[in-house]
Symmetry: C2
């Protein structure tokens, strides 16, 4: 062995460069040359660290999942009740932060890329199902009286609404404004909270 440089630091710098390119140029702009230029190295080193373009794509997809996952964890942890946690988890996805807009754009890009790339499609399914499970768990905590089928339907509906809002807001921020997104989620969440814990029907 010889010349052992800081592999972890390289990986970190490449991750930062990858996300920087993704946020600025979108997924079609995520070329090996762009990542190398942003990281201050050459394509040789990038391919030495990733071996393949698809490995870079998988890494970038994991970056997106980690970002959204950490934010979801934080939103859930800050809430006291399951109802508040569910609300925080979903509303956190509809915020006017530029960081969120970046993530929404990147998410749309990966969604489109997954249509032609089976590996990315598997990743997308896995991550999305994890999100659905997260929402379904909170829904079960909020409404344990509902049937599992109803809870599952509610969870998938909420996820579809959130992702739909994010995807549409990425292109039309005027119609799908922050206010519109919050109002849409409030309306959907209203079906979970009965006005009074009285007798059913």
């Amino acid at each position: 062995m010889a010349r052992r440089r800081d592999v972890a630091d390289q990986q970190r710098r490449l991750s930062a460069a990858t996300w920087s390119v993704l946020a600025e140029r979108g997924l079609p702009g995520l070329t090996l040359r762009a990542v190398a230029e942003r990281a201050g190295c050459t394509t040789g080193m990038v391919l030495h660290a990733f071996a393949d373009k698809q490995a870079l794509l998988v890494h970038a997809r994991e970056l997106l999942h980690r970002r959204t996952g950490e934010r979801a964890d934080a939103a859930q942890a800050a809430a006291a009740t399951p109802t508040a946690a569910l609300r925080a988890l979903l509303l956190q996805a509809a915020s006017p932060t530029e960081e969120k807009r970046e993530e929404a754009r990147v998410w749309v890009g990966f969604l489109a890329a997954a249509l032609a790339d089976p590996v990315l499609a598997d990743l997308h399914r896995s991550y999305n199902r994890r999100f659905v499970d997260r929402v379904a768990t909170l829904v079960a905590a909020v409404r344990p009286d509902w049937s599992p089928a109803d809870r599952a339907t509610t969870a998938t509906s909420l996820v579809a609404l959130v992702e739909g809002l994010n995807a549409l807001a990425a292109v039309d921020a005027a119609v799908y404004s922050d206010h519109a997104q919050r109002a849409a989620l409030d309306g959907a969440l209203a079906r979970l909270e009965p006005p009074e814990p009285a007798a059913n029907a």
Copy 2:
């Protein structure tokens, strides 16, 4: 002038070839060479009819809009009441037809492409707002007692839910099955139909 061949027929054949390529290879596969090969001609003629790659993209985007618009018209026309029309319009978007899966995939591709192409972004905004207006009109007919703000929120929510379901179903048909999509839309539409036309609250 000399040699006037059937321009309309050429346009029709190119449209069919364009959609065929789009459905099969997705938007990244929509190259001039692919369209030419599918239409049985060469890139020279394609560029003679479209002058530019972006003109082909715009034409393809209009094709998608026309397809979805015609289907929406048919769904609305077959319904008797505004409630049924709204339901038919939204449910029509959630059907197990392979044709619909194609359209959903193409829609996702154009959504992602709009993030980097201002022309496609304008088209997307225009078409999507037309869809929102269509839904909003039906919502206004169903619930004239609601405020315009509530009706607008409901319309954008329904559109976001439908597009989110379609986009997610394009990648994960198991979780977002036909049954799941119908159940999600039924739940969202339930908020529009009060159980009895009794007094408010």
